[in-house]
């Protein structure tokens, strides 16, 4: 077990190193001089030279990379070149916002998508299926930005039951938090809900026509038991796989949603950093995201090996 763990840890560290190189080089491959972008309206040669000096932009790229890794290893992600705020603090401020948004959107997608998918499969050929399909198609086709603005106009201005923007932590005021997060969650979750609905419907149709379902019916089980206990349970394997694959899209989709609803999350932090060529902030944000992804994968792999020792043995070879 220890050897397997060490092997996986080593692989993760190598991946993390490669990611750091790609992140560092990728950011520097962006067109646009960061000193000019940071200088704003005051672009005197002296100011530009001082910016380049302060952020080590004159140094060789290998030296810059070494400095970046050296600081990152001690947990120092630096300070934002634009605002002077510590990068780690900004990330820790933004993280809960995006996580909550993703969680709520996922919840919405699961509840609506699976519900509508089951209904569409069970009522195949009827108006319900047609309606569910139409709504799913709409969910997939409507641009996020448009949907966001329409929802704000409808539910924050015409019938002001939700807020148009901003974030209040759940711990500070749960009701106000939900008032601000429901619309963004709908916007972000609608596309995913449509995908989940279509996958659920497809899997349900396959399972409902399978032999074991016919057997269950022949044994006299109620419709609810057949649909919920047998067909849906087996269909969920496909749906969960799709959900896992779509999680990345959820996080990247948060970029636009956070812009519309002015949520100070990861997406907004990243976009602002890209446009202002705030290298320090951008490196920190992308590196943290990648590290989190690698850590989660490592944890899952370790968990697999605990559940199924064959994986561990295979890994040891």
């Amino acid at each position: 077990m220890n050897r397997y763990l060490l092997t996986r840890l080593r692989q993760s560290l190598i991946t993390l190193f490669l990611v750091s190189v790609v992140v560092f080089a990728g950011i520097r491959a962006l067109p646009g001089d960061p000193a000019l972008a940071l200088a704003g309206e005051e672009r005197s040669p002296q100011a530009l030279a001082a910016i380049r000096e302060a952020y080590g932009l004159n140094d060789n790229i290998v030296v810059q990379y070494g400095r970046f890794v050296g600081h990152a290893l001690t947990g120092d992600l630096g300070t934002s070149a634009r605002t002077g705020l510590p990068v780690l603090d900004s990330i820790l401020d933004a993280l809960p916002v995006t996580l909550e948004l993703a969680a709520l959107s996922l919840l919405l997608a699961v509840v609506l998508g699976i519900g509508a998918g089951v209904l569409a499969a069970v009522r195949r050929g009827k108006a319900t299926e047609w309606l569910a399909n139409a709504i799913a198609l709409l969910g997939l086709s409507v641009p996020t930005f448009w949907l966001g603005i329409v929802l704000v106009l409808a539910f924050a201005i015409a019938v002001p039951i939700f807020a148009a923007s901003g974030y209040v932590p759940f711990g500070t005021d749960p009701l106000d938090n939900l008032r601000r997060m429901v619309l963004p969650a709908i916007v972000l979750g609608s596309g995913l809900a449509a995908v989940v609905m279509r996958q659920t419907r497809g899997a349900m149709l396959d399972n409902l026509s399978a032999d074991y379902v016919r057997t269950a019916r022949a044994k006299g089980l109620s419709r609810r038991q057949v649909v919920g206990g047998h067909a849906l349970r087996n269909s969920l394997v496909t749906v969960v796989t799709v959900l896992g694959l779509q999680l990345g899209h959820l996080i990247s989709g948060a970029v636009v949603t956070e812009q519309i609803f002015v949520l100070p999350g990861f997406g907004k932090l990243t976009i602002d950093a890209v446009f202002t060529r705030d290298y320090t902030m951008l490196q920190g944000v992308v590196l943290c995201t990648s590290a989190a992804y690698i850590l989660v994968n490592l944890a899952v792999d370790v968990l697999y090996s605990v559940i199924d020792p064959r994986i561990r043995l295979g890994g040891a070879r």
Partner: protein, 533 residues
Amino acid sequence: MRRTAAFLGVAGLLAGATGCGSLTSAATEVGGDRMTDPRPVRDGGTLTVALKSDPDKLDPSLAQTLVGRTVFAGMCEKLYDTDRTGKVVPQLAAALPKTSDGGRTVTITVRHDLTFSDGTHLDAAAVARSLERHRTLPGSARATELGPLVKAEATGAYTVRIRLKEPYVPLTGVLADRAGMVMSPTALKKYGKNFTNHPSCVGPFKYVERVAGDRIVLAKDPRYYDADKVHLDKVVYKTITDGGVRLANLRSGDIQAGDQMGPVEVQSSLTEKQLQLFTSPSLGYQGLGFNTGNVHGTGQKPGKLDTVFAREPRVREAFELALDRKVINKVVFQDMYEPACGPVSPESAIAPGAADCPGRDLARAKKLLKEAGVTLPVPVELKVSTSPEDSRLGQVIQAMAREADFDVRLRPMEYATLLEETDAGRFDAYVSGWSGRLDPDGNIASFVGTAGAMNTYGISEPAIDRLIAKGRTTADPAARARVYGQLTDRIRDQHALLYLYRQKNYVVARKDVAGLRVYGDGLVRVKDAGYVR
């Protein structure tokens, strides 16, 4: 060609028909602009102001953005300020500066009743220390504008003496911006370069917190010398980059004021009963610049560039004659900005007098091209930012120039890339602008002076350089205005930087808010703001 003319004509008519008659009917103050709302306000409440972009460092020495200046207006007062007519008035200073020694020594007296937000008393030593920091701190964005300053020293408890290399008349205007902000010496000693995260100045509000990309929170400062007149408990500055989203938030009441609103949003806001509009003329300009000699990069001595636009002033003049500033303003900006053809805003205290903008003259444009002997159509790549306004402007310029036999290819670019390209001189022409400074020198010297810090166009004309120097040393306002009049003519003769229009500062606010002030510098002043009684 007919189709282009028809397009421009119809667009112009539509823009005219849907124009902003109601804008002028709402005007109540200087020059038809509505700069404040004098209704009485009650004490208490939080005002949320939406900014177009995230401010940079909250350190007056290092800050570089217009939105940052708006936040400073709430918490960092300056030695001097501007009033609604564009005149410089004392703020932390007790009176306007006195000059002696042929303009080489400037004496400033400061008020006696000033306390920083951290409790430190403001005296002449604090002023001198801030000025020296602005001048010498590595990376200071104030170093250029304080370039002629040799030394600032306290000569009494409340008297500061500034010694200059040469007479520098723009200094008062410079001290009415961030260079005139005084920082607490205690905070500077304690935090050093990290002052940006713990700013302490004299202002109606003091810094509370900042969350990157989201908000900056200020709270009423009880130590402020005029605290009795400050009504709000808190001011929150939120970053909302999209104008449509800013407007939606104004409608829903999630924010109370929206800064730098565009013509489209302003038109929409005029139909809303719960919203009101503040306007002021801008001190800046927007235009189009040609590369006439930027071969070594901005800030370097210009060289010889082998392009038709660099070689032939007649081609540049022909391009200018192809443009109709009034139609551009109508089609692109719904007639909500002002056509312009010079660097100095008529609102400036040293305005040289309104210049007659050249009208559209296709016949003359074609004649000039013929005289220049260039192959038609003349190709030109016009770089524009990816903003919707710049894209529309580029398309209209393209359509107009086509009629004078120019083949304009538009090249939209993300802003940081555009900056790099133009700074390095990799462009034929680009859409260029400046937010403006109180003193005309701030709109001219860096842009058209030889090797100026922002002279991306590679302009180098000894007569212009001489007039810039003369403008800096001429103290008499009337004589200075004449100098800037001559300077404007000289710059226009170059046809290298075509001034096209002047934006207006539009701030939309909820109707239950009064006391906001929006002057020519475009800052949203919140000192007197509050919720109406």
